[in-house]
């Protein structure tokens, strides 16, 4: 079970405090009891001396053979049974006043009377009050236990909340942190060494990762860039060959196919360059873009394709979708989504573009694919289905554009057999 840090410590404190206080209570109780009996015993011994002394003065005392008001008795004993030792015991005695057995402390000893005969002396005293003390003590201990627990709860709630404020701030920043945005964490004022350490470690970790990410980005950018020239040379040399008349038809076809493959590589390369350019914020100039108009222009461009592929386009524009966006990126965004809808279409050949109100635009298409996995479709080189010609970068570019521009969000849903990509302001 997951629990928050303050409750977590509280749970363990409750148990361990109970144990600590219990041990402490046992020790304290036996210590106090020891002291109480010590006191009681001292009193009994003192009484013994006074009784013996009194018995020498007043011979009537020696005849006290029942516990009466004085709480002692003297019994004559035989010489063999005589024992002078002080023997102390706790015993329960029936008390008529409350009809219960009550604890008594007994002192048993022996002495020789004035008459020279051996006597046994028994003195007792009630220890009821001392037991009440122990009861009170236990109550006090329980009260202390709960009081400490409540204090800890309050301290946890208020003091720890305050103490953990920098931690919460760090956490919040981490939650809003997105990889590759190269945004520095705001430094947090704190006197707590651990938090400062945590913050500086996180900051340096982020910096390291961003650096790696940046290097990778630069590498991809440079690699794609460096590939352009050799590709250009190869393609243009093939172009020159294709212009000659001294080849056979099948050789022409081979050359043309080689050239086509190279062009696919070029388009892949350009997509990668495009991604790294968007990520490098090379498209930061924004203006108000009317997406209705943009979609219409894009659809006009693709007219020939729709015609030959016999794709049916239905547009429902009931509002104007306008937002601040980079015009080039808006173009790429819309054409990538439409191309996606063309590429993954099936024999139903339907593309539905809807703008029902001013902050929602949806592009839907029929397809043989089932609902797509949204955690994967925006990944680079993720390919669904068997499109050899697809480079698997289209939706990744869409995702990168939206993350870069930050004014539109994308949602995907599979509804009524239609794959829908919904752009929301």
């Amino acid at each position: 079970m997951k629990t928050s840090l303050k409750n977590y410590t509280f749970r363990y404190l409750t148990i361990s405090l109970l144990a600590v206080l219990a041990i402490w209570a046992i020790l304290f109780r036996s210590f106090i009891l020891d002291e109480v009996y010590d006191n009681v015993d001292d009193g009994l011994k003192n009484q013994k001396i006074e009784i013996i002394r009194q018995s020498y003065v007043d011979p009537e005392v020696i005849k006290t053979n029942k516990f009466g008001l004085n709480q002692f008795r003297i019994l004559p004993v035989k010489q063999e049974e005589y024992n002078e030792m002080n023997r102390l015991t706790n015993e329960m005695v029936f008390m008529p006043y409350d009809g219960e057995d009550e604890p008594y402390r007994y002192l048993r000893t022996g002495f020789y009377g004035k008459d020279g005969k051996p006597y046994a002396l028994e003195i007792r005293t009630s220890t009821v009050e001392e037991d009440d003390l122990i009861y009170d003590l236990s109550m006090a201990l329980f009260a202390l236990y709960f009081f400490i627990l409540i204090s800890i709860l309050l301290v946890n709630h208020f003091a720890l909340k305050k103490a953990y404020q920098p931690f919460d701030k760090i956490l919040k920043q981490l939650q809003s942190y997105r990889f590759g945005q190269s945004k520095e964490l705001n430094p947090i004022e704190t006197n707590v060494i651990e938090f400062e350490l945590l913050q500086s470690e996180i900051a340096s970790m982020i910096n390291r990762n961003e650096q790696v990410f940046y290097n990778q980005k630069v590498f991809i950018g440079n690699a794609s860039h460096e590939l352009q020239t050799p590709l250009a040379i190869a393609i243009n040399k093939l172009d020159l060959l294709l212009e000659q008349d001294n080849f056979e038809e099948k050789d022409y076809i081979q050359l043309a196919e080689a050239k086509n493959s190279l062009w696919r590589m070029v388009s892949l390369n350009r997509s990668l360059l495009m991604l790294s350019k968007i990520e490098n914020h090379q498209y930061n100039i924004k203006e108000e873009v009317n997406f209705n108009q943009l979609i219409q222009e894009t659809l006009d461009d693709y007219e020939a394709i729709f015609e030959t592929e016999e794709i049916k386009i239905i547009t429902e524009f009931n509002a104007e979708f306008k937002t601040l966006f980079n015009r080039d990126l808006a173009n790429i965004l819309i054409s990538n989504l439409i191309r996606n809808a063309i590429k993954h279409n099936n024999k139903e050949k339907l593309i539905l573009i809807k703008i029902n109100h001013e902050n929602e635009l949806s592009i839907s298409n029929t397809s043989d694919l089932f609902a797509l996995n949204t955690s994967e479709i925006y990944n680079r080189f993720y390919k669904q289905g068997f499109h050899v010609e697809s480079n698997g970068l289209g939706l990744s570019i869409v995702d990168t554009i939206l993350k870069n521009q930050e004014t539109i969000q994308i949602d995907y849903q599979y509804k009524d057999g239609l794959h829908q990509f919904i752009l929301k302001k």
Binding site: T229, K237, D301
Partner: protein, 223 residues
């Protein structure tokens, strides 16, 4: 027409030269910034193909030097960078066009013709082949002096064919030149076939002496 190719990659430079010479241009080359400057000072060119990254300087500075000399040469920047900033800067400094490497030769040729036409306003504007006359300025096509109505894509197709009659255009080249890089979308390039079929029909109806011929497995040519 004289063209200077400023390109440090010798292989690429040579293929461009060979292509342009096949197209009957007079071509000179420069592989470095300083060589480029020397040639620009000493000679006049109708068109300069300029690589942005040179071993001893960048093409943009060369372009600035050229503008200082007040020369009328058209400039097309050839860059492997394909970056918006480069493009904008190049065009701001006074380049006439920008072409990202790698490019189709047909595309390069089309761009050269366009900038050349822009810089020679008083010269012959029209492109003609047999009885077809194409006016790039107002995008009109005349066959035997009768105007033929073509849609945007049909006109673009014909324009490319007219630039290089009797040369084979591959389907991919046509698709990319006319439709941008959308060709990867379709499993086959059949849509080009239907566009060309329409164009052929219109040419035939207007009694054009030229016709577009399919070259099996490769593409099409205007004959």
């Amino acid at each position: 027409m004289k063209i200077l190719v400023v390109e440090d990659e010798i292989q690429l430079q040579q293929t461009i030269v060979q292509f342009l010479e096949n197209e009957k241009f007079i071509v000179e080359t420069a592989s470095t910034f300083s060589e480029g400057i020397d040639k620009l000072i000493s000679f006049d060119y109708d068109c300069i193909l300029l690589d942005i990254m040179l071993p001893d300087g960048d093409g943009i500075s060369l372009l600035k030097e050229l503008k200082k000399m007040n020369k009328k040469s058209a400039v097309i920047i050839l860059s492997a960078k394909d970056s918006v900033d480069d493009k904008v800067e190049g065009l701001l400094v006074g380049a006439d066009d920008y072409l990202a490497k790698p490019f189709h030769f047909a595309e390069l040729l089309a761009r050269i013709k366009v900038v050349f036409r822009k810089n020679h306003q008083n010269g012959e504007q029209n492109i003609s082949y047999k009885n077809i006359i194409l006016n790039p300025e107002d995008r009109r096509v005349l066959i035997d002096n009768n105007e033929v109505k073509l849609n945007r894509k049909e006109y673009d197709l014909l324009y490319y064919f007219m630039l290089r009659p009797e040369k084979v255009f591959q389907k991919t080249t046509l698709a990319e030149s006319v439709w941008g890089d959308h060709i990867e979308l379709v499993d086959s390039l059949d849509f080009i076939y239907s566009q060309i079929k329409n164009l052929r029909k219109k040419l035939k109806e207007a009694q054009a002496e030229a016709d577009i011929q399919a070259v099996y497995g490769v593409g099409y040519k205007l004959v």
